[in-house]
Structures are given as structure tokens and as C-alpha cells.
Amino acid sequence: MRVYLGIDVGSVSTDVAVIDDDNRLVAGAYLMTRGQPIGAVQEALQAVSDCSQRGMVVCGAGATGSGRYLAAAIMGADAVKNEITAHAVAAIDRVPGVSTVIEIGGQDSKIIIIRDGVVVDFAMNSVCAAGTGSFLDRQAARLGIPIEEFGRVALCSSRPTRIAGRCAVFAESDMVHKQQVGHAVEDIVWGLCQALVRNYLSNVGKGKDIRPPVAFQGGVAANAGMKRGFEEALGYEVVVPEEHKLMGAIGAAILAREACCGKTAFRGFGVTHERFVSRGFECDGCANSCEVTEIHSGGSTLARWGGRCGRWACAKPAVPWRAGSVV
């Protein structure tokens, strides 16, 4: 069976998806990046490596997320795409007639406006990371609630506490204050979800034409409190796709299937046992002091990026460059 592999290397989590010719998910995994993107890519590939024993042939591979260039350098990829395109492609495939995508990940949040199956507008959070996964993780830990339970706790509340949501720092100090004056934990948690939804809609969603059906994806979509918050604020149901945690990877896999022409650049599951070394250094060519990063394996440089000028352009880039192609 012909399959296509997609990987989404984010700041907090790394997910991988394997799809067939009809975009159906045949294998997938969701892991923590833990600041070790190389290890996370290898671990993710390991998690789906039994595909090859089950008679599947990887005919294309795609990478997305903030670590997309790194992932592409390690495993070899036919498509390297930004996460906005990847999430949109996955939502269009999974949610019939989708008009709006709300995606909240570990450190960024986005809104994508889709009309007739085509992206027409998008935005990413620019000034504030309140409401993203990292912030919720931290607040859950501070309240002593496992993150998986966070949403359920919020749903227990019927009288939300009003929390200041403009900025993560203010939200946290306001929560501490509300705790100290004796508000119940579930009310604070539900109030926080509402504050973060307000923050999202007024910062990321500012001026955007949000219309149903709305798909809510990314790690934070697992939080039932956030889903309820969006539904109350928007006034209609918000769809959380079954594979919401893997949507970025599914999008990358679909893009790989589309980009595929003949031989794949995928280097095979053997890369899970290869030793990769990354090296960063500051270029001393001029006062820009660019931070250049290199990935080595077996004595050769697989990829290099980070320079403003052409001095450190790699002899062998991770993705072959064609005139007019987006890499």
C-alpha cells in the first residue's frame, strides 16, 4: 500500500501522521518536543516505523511546524510547508464546508479564514502568547490540576470568575488574587478559559470574518473548557475534529501526497538510528553576527541555515530549490 508521511515539529509537541491515497489516517503519534527537536523527530518516526513491516511503502514525506526545516534535513522531505497552510489543508479535508479554523498550539495561535475550500485570510498572534498551550500548562500545574483534567474542571463551574485576559502576566496575577479571596478552583478555571477566548478573539481574531462551521484544532482543542468558551462567545457549535492533535501532520502528509512526483526524498525509517549532531555558531563576517545552525550526520553536513547573506548557503540544501518554489 502506498502511504504518505507528515510530521509537525512544534515548540511543545511533535506529531506524525501516515495517510493512504484517500487521505485516511493509518498511523499516527503525538509526542512532546521537550526542546529536543532532533530526538522528537526520531522518536515520532520510530512510533510509526512498523508501517514498513505492515506492507506500506512511504511514497512521500512532508514537514511543517517551526522545526520544519530541521525535520526535512533529518528525514528528507518532498514538501516543507508553513503550519498555516498545513492546518488549512487538513481542516478542508476533515471538516466539510469549513469556513474558519481556530488553531491553538504550544506557543502560537492562529486563525484561518476559508471560503469555498480556499484560504482567503489568516492571522497569527503577534504580541502575546496568553491562551496558548504553554500558558495553560503552567496554570494547570500551579493549580495542581493535571492538564488533561483542566477542561473537565472548567465544565463543573456555573459561576465563572472574571479573570483579566489581556496579558499572560496579568491573567496569572489576577488568578492568584481571585484564589486568595476565596473563589472556587473550578470557577477560576472556567473564568480563565473565558478570558483566553476573549483574548484570542480580540487579538488574533480581530477584524476577521468568523463564520461557521468553525474547526478548533491544535493541542488546546482537547480542552473542553476552551471549546465551551468559544461556543458561548460565538453562539454556535465549534467542531473539534477527531484527529485534532494530528491535524498539522495530516496536512503535511496531504501536501506531500500532492507534491509527490516519482521518487520521494524520504530517507527511510533508518534515520531513527542515525546519529545527528547540530552545531550552532555566530558568524564573524560582519556586525550582523548571524546565528548559523548546521546539522551533521556521518561526517557530512546535511543542512545549514540562519545567515542573512549567502555566505553560509549549504552546498546541499535539505530541499532542492526550483525557481518559483516555496521552501
Binding site: 508553513n82 497552510t85 480556499v118 484560504v119 497569527m124 503577534s126 477584524g207 548557503a313 525557481a323 518559483g324
Partner: protein, 362 residues
């Protein structure tokens, strides 16, 4: 007198020619780098916009090389820029930098004041010398704009990544070294053929227009090489904001204002009927102009906290809805991260590409 001036894109080429032919010893500020931005940000008020920080950084770096006099533009209107030279004067004084700032206010504030400031720079040389210097600088200014335009239209069609940027840099270097109007013409022709040689395809995949605040639009360091990034993604970049255009629009009688810019101001009218400072009107009208010309998208570029462009931004949403042209707004300052910019640009280009495919029935 050891004279310097702020950098803005490639404007140092005509500026150097202008002041050097007036007999001044010119200290060209080193190319803007992260150090320039860091120096400027450290000593400027946090909420001042990026152009103030960058030009302040240029002055400090030029002073380190021995400059003792700096020329800075003034201005009037709602944009804060007109006030910057005064703020920079005080900051440089506080830093103990012995840099005398000569502020050139726009002629609408009075020709006599301007003439007086200019005479300080010419060191009492006659009108003939001034005319010759202006002619050489003006020839270079137009030639630099032409080379930049060729690079913008050729980059998406280059055969090898980086080829146009190399040819452009070589051409600019030739222009910089030209010593007469005739040599400028020769350098321009040589530059044209250098760039023409890099082209491998007849058409670009798509066209995008850039509007916004002029310093951020023209300065490649400040906008993180926006035009190069777009070009390398296969985008032909259009913009009517240029150095020579600015001179025509601001220093010469109205009839010399570039046609596109004049048209843009007119097109802004139904949406914005009031001067908002800077290039706010041109941004609104420019987006309509580019939509009418059938460009695939428009990118608005501004420094973070830029008031005129923030006014334009809110109007641009309506313009985008009415014309159907997608508009992406990018604001830059010393905190802008490269990864975020690249992701937004890639997503915008994907959006335009998929729209185009959809329109073609694919």
C-alpha cells in the same frame, strides 16, 4: 567638516555623490546591522518607531568613524518623524557625541530656512557647484531606483538562487563609483545587462504590490529583506514608493509627483478623505491601484506603533473586502523574529497561489 547622513536602503549612493561633489569629506555610515539596531534601541525611547532607532544607530556608528556633522530630514504633519531630528540631537548630546545635526525641513516650511541650512553644507560654494552636485546625485538616485526595479521584476525569474541579488549588488557598486553623469549612464547600462543575464524565465508566478511607510519599505535591513524573500518565492514585487519618487513628491512642484503616487492619493478618497501623515493615504489608494491592475496581493509594511499606517491598516480591511485583493500587514521593529516573518510570508504566498489555482478552475 566630516559629514554623515542616515542610511535608508541604497540612498547613501546619491547622498554620498551629492555631498562629496560639494567638497565635503563624507563619512558614509557603515551598512545597517544588528549592532546599529541595538545601539539605536538602547538610546532611543522605547515607543519611538524603528526609523528613529535605526537612524540614531547610523549617527552613532558614523560618529565612531569620525563624523562631526550629520544631515537629517525634518518634516511636518501628524507623523512623528518631523520631530525625530530634535530628539536625536538631545540624545546625541546626552551621549557626549559631538555631532552637529543639520536639519533640512521641507520647503513648504520656507525656502529661506532651507537655503540657509543648505549653505551651511556647501561651505559657501557657488550655485554652479551646487547645480553640478545635484545633477550627479539626481542621476544616481534615478539609476539606483531603476536597478532596484529591475531586481524586483527579475528575481522571481532568475535561473539560480541569489543570482539577481549578486548582480544587483555589483550594479549598485558600479553606480556608487561613477564620477560623472555620463559614467552613471554607463554604469546603469552595465548593471542592466548584469541583471538581464540572470533571467531564465519569461514570466513570474505572481505579482504582489508593497505599500506602507517609506523608510521601512525602502530599507532592506529594517524589513528583513522582504523583497528578496518574496522574489525567491517566485513573486514579482511592485512598489511606487522610491527615493526619486519621494524627491519629486516632496521637493518639486506638484506636477512632478510620480503618476502612480498621485493616482493612489486620488483612489484613497472614498475611504479616507483626510491627510493622516506619512504615506497613509498612499497605502490605502495604492492597495486599490494594485487591485485594479490585477496584482495577486498587497503587503503593507510599517514600523511598530506607526500612527499613519495604523489608520491605513484599519481602512485596508474594507478595501480588501471591496476589491477582493488579499492584504497582509507586517509591522517591524527590533523585536521582530525572522521565523515569524518567514511563516507569514510563506502562508500568504500559498494563499495567493491556491486562490489563483482556484480561479483557473484547478
Amino acid at each position: 567638516m566630516r559629514l554623515t547622513f542616515p542610511r535608508m536602503g541604497n540612498s547613501h549612493i546619491p547622498f554620498k555623490a551629492l555631498f562629496a561633489s560639494l567638497g565635503a569629506e563624507v563619512v558614509v555610515p557603515p551598512p545597517s546591522t544588528r549592532r546599529t539596531a541595538a545601539l539605536g534601541s538602547r538610546h532611543a525611547p522605547e515607543f519611538a518607531c524603528f526609523p528613529l532607532k535605526m537612524t540614531l544607530g547610523n549617527f552613532i556608528e558614523a560618529a565612531e568613524l569620525g563624523a562631526d556633522t550629520a544631515v537629517m530630514a525634518g518634516g511636518v504633519g501628524p507623523c512623528r518623524f518631523g520631530y525625530y531630528a530634535q530628539v536625536q540631537k538631545v540624545i546625541l548630546q546626552d551621549l557626549g557625541r559631538d555631532l552637529d545635526l543639520v536639519v533640512l525641513e521641507p520647503p513648504k516650511l520656507g525656502w529661506i530656512h532651507l537655503a540657509h541650512q543648505v549653505s551651511r553644507l556647501t561651505g559657501g560654494r557657488g550655485a554652479g557647484a551646487l547645480l553640478r552636485a545635484v545633477r550627479l546625485a539626481w542621476a544616481k538616485c534615478n539609476a539606483v531606483d531603476e536597478i532596484e526595479r529591475l531586481a524586483r521584476t527579475s528575481r522571481p525569474r532568475q535561473g539560480e538562487r541569489g543570482a539577481v541579488t549578486r548582480a544587483e549588488n555589483a550594479a549598485l557598486d558600479l553606480l556608487d563609483r561613477a564620477e560623472s553623469a555620463r559614467q552613471v549612464q554607463e554604469a546603469l547600462e552595465a548593471g542592466r545587462s548584469l541583471i538581464a543575464r540572470t533571467v531564465a524565465r519569461r514570466t513570474a508566478e505572481m505579482r504582489v504590490g508593497i505599500v506602507g511607510e517609506i523608510f521601512m519599505v525602502l530599507d532592506g535591513f529594517s524589513n528583513m529583506d522582504l523583497e528578496r524573500r518574496l522574489g525567491e518565492m517566485g513573486v514579482e514585487v511592485h512598489r511606487f514608493l522610491t527615493m526619486s519618487g519621494w524627491v519629486r513628491a516632496n521637493l518639486l512642484p506638484k506636477r512632478y509627483t510620480p503618476a502612480e503616487e498621485r493616482e493612489a492619493v486620488g483612489l484613497a478618497r472614498p475611504y479616507l478623505d483626510h491627510f493622516v501623515g506619512g504615506h497613509g493615504l498612499e497605502s490605502v489608494g495604492g492597495a486599490r491601484l494594485y487591485a485594479r491592475e490585477g496584482l495577486d496581493g498587497v503587503i503593507q509594511v510599517m514600523p511598530f506603533t506607526c500612527m499613519p499606517e495604523i489608520v491605513a491598516e484599519s481602512v485596508l480591511r474594507t478595501v480588501s473586502g471591496d476589491t477582493g485583493v488579499p492584504i497582509l500587514t507586517l509591522s517591524f521593529d527590533e523585536h521582530t523574529a525572522e521565523a515569524g516573518l518567514q511563516t507569514r510570508l510563506e502562508a500568504f504566498v500559498d494563499l495567493l497561489r491556491r486562490r489563483r489555482r482556484g480561479a483557473a478552475g484547478g
